[in-house]
């Protein structure tokens, strides 16, 4: 077949993996996105995120992605976008100071913004963890086991939140939407049916007959009759097939002219 090339690639990849089996194992799925991967890399450096060198971080990220690509790991597009952006940022940062006139923001600014985003994500993570350090209900502190039922005077009388309401609405509408939505099946005269029918007809044909006069009529097809175009197309294809198999003969005298069919046995 023609996909030899692809097989080749797979083969190479397999042998690569064998040879470099002990190499760094890359688990790109371990991070939720490029920002999480960057944060992980920054963390590994054990430096203050506020003072981190974005240049060094960009370098590490690019190396990581490069390694991952060599291993032909599936890398989500967003990781590659970040890689492209970091490569660009890196080149901008490395340019000599007096830069050409440009509308683009200063690379230091872009680096600072990235550092800010990392710090913010890190802070949110820490915030989440700090919540679980608190005295949690039913883990560290417990309410009265047998309360006598006193409630706030403003406590809602019904346990119904906006979320419950939306869930009820979405559920109702969805149930209805799916139960009534049935894509209409295209009505097609199948090739198999046409062929079986024509090959039967061909045996009985004694002379040339116009193909369109041999098409099934409404009485034969019932109320769900496929459109005439489909009848014609399938019948013509079926006629060609049975002709090829020697069951019938076809002829057309002019372009767009009528097509004639005759059974082979009917030839004298």
């Amino acid at each position: 077949m023609s996909d030899l090339f692809e097989e080749d690639v797979r083969f190479e990849a397999a042998s690569d993996a064998e040879e470099t089996g002990s190499a760094l194992i890359l688990d790109i799925e371990g991070w939720e996105g490029p920002l999480h991967l960057l944060l992980h890399l920054a963390r590994k450096n054990k430096v203050d995120l506020a003072k981190i060198s974005i240049l060094a971080l960009a370098e590490q990220y690019l190396v990581f992605i490069e390694q991952a690509r060599e291993k032909r790991l599936d890398i989500a597009a967003e990781y590659l976008v970040m890689a492209a952006w970091l490569a660009y940022l890196k080149s901008r940062l490395l340019l000599p100071k007096p830069r050409p006139e440009s509308d683009e923001p200063e690379p230091e600014m872009m680096a600072a913004a990235l550092a800010f985003r990392l710090m913010r994500l890190d802070a949110m993570r820490a915030g989440g963890e700090a919540l679980y350090e608190r005295q949690l209900l039913k883990r560290d502190v417990f309410e009265r086991g047998a309360p006598e039922g006193v409630r706030s005077i403003r406590a809602p009388q019904y346990e119904a939140s906006l979320f419950d309401l939306l869930k009820a609405y979405a559920g109702t509408r969805e149930k209805f939407a799916f139960s009534t939505y049935e894509p209409e099946k295209p009505k097609v005269y199948s090739l198999e049916v046409a062929r079986a029918r024509l090959s039967l007809l061909a045996k009985r044909l004694t002379g040339w007959e116009r193909l369109d006069s041999l098409l099934p009529g409404d009485d034969e097809l019932g109320p769900d009759a496929p459109p005439p175009a489909s009848l014609m197309a399938s019948s013509l294809l079926a006629a060609l097939e049975i002709t090829k198999d020697g069951e019938a003969a076809l002829r057309q005298e002019a372009v767009y002219g009528p097509i004639w069919m005759r059974g082979q046995e009917g030839r004298s």
Partner: protein, 245 residues
């Protein structure tokens, strides 16, 4: 309910207990910590606790009756007290304060699924007629459901549809907005929001839509307040008829 004399005797007995048994029992006076522990256990327990249960949790060798007696003493003048029921102990409200609780014991009720569905359809599709609600839900709307929503003051009559039979239309009230924490009816999440929140499948048919609750029904004659009062009666009659159709 409570018998002050029996209580006093119990308290006395509890207090005397350790003294009386002093020769037999090696128990020391209960420690402050043991008393705190018993207090927390009795508080958090869903049912009265017996001496064995307490003994199993408190430091080994703790004198349980003495510990209970300590607690009873501590709470003698408080708003709650430790009472004994069938040889087990529990916290309960001081009997003279029972009246405080009398009127306010109320379990939050769960709104029925039918009521939630009906209410949500009214919120999104208002102004909406009863027949339309039934069409969307695929089942009849019971009078009880509509009545409950009226009683909760979450829905109101908005007007009459300009269509044959001039059916009344429903809408939500300010109380509805307040209860569900919405600043305005237009704050109800739209189709995109519901999909984003995972409430609606993202593979809905293309013609699926959600009405904009902010739209003003221009095919209805709104009630003013006075009409509203008049029509309430009409509505009830009308609704009956509609159902019987």
């Amino acid at each position: 309910m409570s018998d002050p004399i029996a209580e006093a005797i119990a308290r006395l007995r509890a207090r005397q207990g350790p003294q009386g048994d002093a020769a037999v029992s090696p128990h020391a006076e209960p420690s402050v910590q043991a008393v705190r522990m018993a207090e927390a256990l009795l508080f958090a327990a869903a049912e009265p606790l017996d001496a064995e249960t307490l003994a199993a949790r408190l430091p080994a060798g703790t004198d349980i009756p003495a510990t209970i007696a300590r607690l009873q003493e501590k709470y003698a003048e408080a708003g709650v007290r430790i009472s004994e029921v069938g040889g087990r102990w529990r916290f309960e409200t001081a009997p003279d304060l029972a009246y405080l609780l009398a009127e306010i014991r109320e379990e939050p009720k769960k709104l029925s699924q039918a009521a939630l569905e009906t209410l949500s359809i009214i919120a999104y599709h208002q102004p909406v007629t009863r027949a339309e609600i039934e069409e969307i839900r695929g089942v009849a709307v019971s009078k009880g459901t509509i009545d409950l929503l009226f009683e909760l003051k979450w829905i109101r009559l908005r007007g009459r549809r300009r269509s044959p039979g001039r059916p009344v239309t429903f809408g939500t009230t300010d109380a509805f907005l307040e209860y569900f924490g919405l600043a305005a009816i237009t704050d109800l999440p739209g189709l995109g929001d519901l999909k984003a929140a995972g409430l609606l499948s993202s593979r809905l048919p293309a013609n699926f839509d959600i009405p904009d609750p902010a739209r003003i029904g221009d095919d209805e004659d709104p009630f003013d307040d006075e009409d509203s009062a008049h029509f309430h009666l009409d509505f009830l009659e009308g609704a009956e008829e509609e159902r019987e159709e």
